[in-house]
Amino acid sequence: MRAEPGRFADVTARSVGAMWRAYDLQLTTYAALLGTIGLVMAYVNSVESGQQALASGTVFSRALMWSGIAIVAYVAATLFDYHWLKTLAWPIYLVNIGLLVLTKAIGDGVGGSARWIAIGPLTFQFSELAKILMIIVLAVYLGNREGKLDSLSSILGACLLMVPPWALVMVQPDLGTSLVLASILAGMLFMSGASLRWLIAMAAGLVAAVPLAWTYVLRDYQKERITAFVTPCVDTLGSCWQVLQSKIAVASGGLVGTGLTNGTQSRGDFLPVQESDFVFAVLAQELGFLGALVVFLLFTVLLWRIIASAWRSRDPFGTLFGAGLATAILFQVFVNVGMVIGLLPVTGIPLPFIAHGGASLVSIAIGLGVIQSVNIRQHRAEW
């Protein structure tokens, strides 16, 4: 190997101060604000369940702890030189597959599914981590194929990479995460500049495959949720009940909301999984339309900072990683909020930052950390 003195000079020239200037403080701020809203909702949830918010085992105390872990993960990912990820792509991919296999083998879940793995007193949902890991793997793969991205082989290669983890998530079964993985793939291919003709052709093929998926892939309860969405509510229980109660909660919030911890729908336990999947309904009832708008605004500016970082990146990895992360967040917000307000069927997709769930928060923190790692390792900020 030839020594590269320029590198040392470069590194020394890039003082901590320069790195700090390249660091995107806005992005951190928006993420922290969203995380704080998540903590507030966890607090509300604990209080409404009649618990001491800080007692051990409450939603709030666990959320505090996971926030701490997320901050550590974020800092670690920021400090970690993302270039190493290119080398580590394959091991990361294999570890990801391994964790998903492990989840299927020893995981716990509701109704016979296997989604969580217990680590000591905590549970961790590795399918959440899989989202970030697959963004890394795809970003490395597509980045290496720069220049050949409009070929069909790039698209097929990316798809092939996605198939094993996607299938493993699907058999858990976790329809929500598998949809997020698919959206990540689609978003990254689109942003990478992949051939639109082929993408459209593949999308058409997927639509054609829907009847097959309906028959062979979807579980009964998943079908029920979807049919409940498209047919008028007849069942006063089950999915229909959830959506109806959720809409009632949102509507009763009005413009300014009922005030924190005053949501009758959540206090009376009318809302299903109100600390996770339906947390936005509680938020909309208690903080009202204005509170929900603030959340939307924070997500929008956060996405803007992620996309800006992606654009600014000097290498395709940063661009693609940012595109994948932005797609994942946007898709999850859309599907989750759409579900809560009755626009989309019920799928178990958590609302980033706000829904209670350690794995989701830590995974997003890692993703944002990688973005910052990309930011501070550019020569200069472009804007």
Binding site: Q245, S252, G254, L255, Q265, A292, A326, L343
Partner: protein, 632 residues
């Protein structure tokens, strides 16, 4: 290695159009979500917010305390006591835990788990309505069930009031009992505010006076969570109003005397069923009404077990049937009141008319025997009624004919319910030519008219009809509706309804005829047809009856019931039956009493000794020996 960051490539294609597209899509998505949110929260808010309120709150009924029941002296016959009930709300019980919960609960309550599941499955109302599984649960058990609530989803323990009947079997046939409302009745009663797990009067005056006793349920607005558990009461929207209380015409002391007399006679004679009724003929008030065998209505109040209920329901002596009003029997010779009154009033005979009585009358080749195979010679109404001569009344019945006889029977209240305040009253049968044409396609034969004239054949009457007919004789021809309630009092103590005699009809019979029949009834006693009854210090006019029924035994004899119905004048020691002033009419009925003498008469004597505190014992237990009245 291609360290791209060392060799910056600003010319790298970053597809600005696609970044722009992403930005537009982002804004479109948030725009869509925000506008939908605005539609829901601002446009549609109030309507759905009302649903959130409806979700959260529910109107719940406040049960009203049920009215109490007293005897005519104010002695409590029914009280309300607090008790624990265990209920299951089906919607809160996950289907896959049903059997587990039924097993656990069955173990705690000592119930068969399959019974619990069956109760759940057959319960009226929706899945959200609690179903009563057990009532009157002991406090220890109730506490145990409450404490195991996390293993018993959907199970709740509630405090409710239940009925208690201090006198138990003594009054059960009159008071009846309350029980859970059944699905069929619930549909009709829902509009009146009945709840699926409500209690309702099922028998006796508990059933007849249900609407007065129940009161008006109140309601309150409660805050609920999604599992339907009450979080708090927000406000009372309507106060519950207690049910009205009843004061019965029944006198518990007289009821006890009547029951003791009937029990004594039935025990000595080895009888299975009997009735004793006491009334005031001047008003139609029922002072006592005993039907044996009886049951303990507290069993029902505590929630009767299927086993106990089956035992009562299948008992061939029908303890759940009030034999005084819900069953009918041939009246036998007591019916001669109708034949005699009809004969006199239709002027077929006069009080002086003497008819030849003999061992039997012949009709074609059929002989119609007198009970006394010697006959009584030439007999007027006093002799005929006094000796209860069958051949005398065959002839009178023959003169009247089937339809006139039926007319007079109906005038006395036979063949129709009396309208007493008890459920399930039967009509009895009074045969007429029209009735027989309808039933058998033929008119009444002359022999059947003879039979009808002595209360045999097709005639059947209820004990309450019979005593009411004699009450009309005793009071000078006023047929009153027998009544059980003296007074209905509101929860504030104000009288809502007080007793007034309810005249069914004035008999179209002259006072002279009634006087004749009363004196004839007195003859029954003075001619010693009823043995030593005449020796008692009180004056009694009466008629006994021996009513054959069923199938002949190996010696060609029929089983029979015995009747005794009588009355005493206002002054029982010195009064005269010429006056219609009697204040006491009583009836004894002994079912299937194959005794040497008339068992009902001995029972009546026992009652009179108790009622008038007569120290000397006039009863003749020898007459209650097993035998056949006709055999001697």
């Amino acid at each position: 290695m291609n360290d791209s960051y060392l060799t910056p490539r600003p010319e790298r294609d970053r597809r600005p159009l696609r970044f722009l597209t992403f930005g537009i899509v982002t804004i479109l998505i948030f725009g869509l979500l925000a506008s939908r949110l605005a539609y829901l929260q601002i446009n549609n808010g109030p309507a759905l917010a009302a649903r959130a309120e409806a979700n959260r709150t529910a109107e719940e009924a406040i049960p009203a305390p049920r009215g109490l029941i007293y005897d005519r002296q104010g002695r409590p016959l029914v009280t309300n006591v607090a008790s624990f009930a265990v209920k299951i709300t089906p919607s809160d019980l996950p289907f896959d835990q049903r059997t587990d919960v039924a097993d656990r609960l069955g173990y705690l309550l000592g119930l068969d788990p399959s019974t619990i599941l069956e109760t759940l499955d057959t319960a009226p109302g929706s899945r959200f309505d609690p179903v009563r599984i057990a009532q009157d649960v002991p406090e220890d058990t109730a506490r145990l069930v409450s404490e195991s609530s996390d293993q018993l989803p959907g199970v709740s323990v509630v405090v409710e009031t239940r009925r208690a009947y201090p006198a138990g079997p003594l009054m059960a046939q009159i008071l009846g009992y309350t029980g859970p409302v059944d699905a069929a009745s619930l549909d009709k009663l829902k509009a009146d505010g009945y709840l699926p797990d409500d209690m309702i009067g099922k028998a006796g005056v508990e059933a007849t006076f249900e609407s007065q006793l129940r009161g008006t349920y109140g309601s309150e607005l409660v805050e609920r969570d999604a599992t339907g558990k009450d979080v708090q009461v927000l406000r009372t929207t309507q106060q519950a109003v207690s049910g009205a209380s009843l004061t019965l015409t029944i006198d518990e002391t007289i009821q006890k005397d009547a029951q003791a007399a009937l029990k004594w006679g039935m025990r000595v004679a080895g009888l299975k069923r009997g009735v004793f009724i006491v009334m005031n003929p001047q008003t139609g008030e029922v002072l006592a009404m005993v039907s044996l065998p009886t049951y303990d209505d507290n069993l029902f109040a505590k929630g009767i077990s299927v086993k106990d209920f089956q035992k009562l329901a299948t008992d061939k002596n029908e303890p759940l049937t009030n034999q005084a009003v819900q069953a009918h029997f041939p009246p036998g010779s007591t019916f001669k009141l109708v034949t005699g009154t009809g004969g006199l009033q239709d002027r077929k005979i006069t009080p002086q008319t003497r008819l030849q009585t003999r061992a039997y009358l012949t009709l074609g080749s059929t002989r119609f025997y007198d009970w006394n195979h010697a006959g009584f010679g030439l007999c007027n109404i006093f002799c005929g009624f006094g000796h209860s001569s069958d051949t005398f009344f065959y002839q009178v019945a023959g003169m009247l004919g089937a339809d006139r006889l039926a007319y007079w029977a109906r005038q006395f209240g036979f063949g129709a319910p009396t309208g007493i305040d008890l459920p399930g009253e039967v009509s009895g049968i009074i045969p007429s030519n029209a009735w027989k044409m309808n039933a058998f396609g033929q008119p009444m034969f002359q022999g059947e008219v003879y039979q009808a004239g002595i209360g045999q054949g097709y005639d059947v009457v209820t004990p309450i009809q019979l005593i009411n007919a004699y009450a009309a004789l005793a009071n000078g021809g006023k047929l009153y509706r027998p009544q059980l309630v003296r007074e209905i009092t509101g929860p504030d103590g104000a009288v809502i309804q007080s007793f007034k005699p309810d005249l069914i009809r004035k008999l179209p019979v002259s006072q002279a005829t009634l006087r004749t029949m009363r004196l004839a009834a007195r003859k029954v006693v003075t001619l010693r047809h009823t043995y030593n009854l005449v020796d008692m210090p009180i004056k009694v006019a009466a008629k006994s009856g021996t009513a054959e029924y069923g199938l002949r035994d190996s010696k060609g004899r029929l089983p029979f019931h015995s009747w005794f119905v009588g009355f005493v004048p206002k002054d029982p020691y010195h009064g005269s039956f010429a006056n219609p002033d009697s204040q006491l009419v009583f009836l004894a009925f002994a079912y299937d009493s194959r005794t040497i003498g008339n068992a009902a008469t001995e029972i009546a004597k026992d009652f009179l000794q108790r009622y008038f505190h007569i120290k000397k014992d006039y009863r003749l237990p020898v007459l209650l020996r097993r035998g056949n009245f006709y055999g001697h």
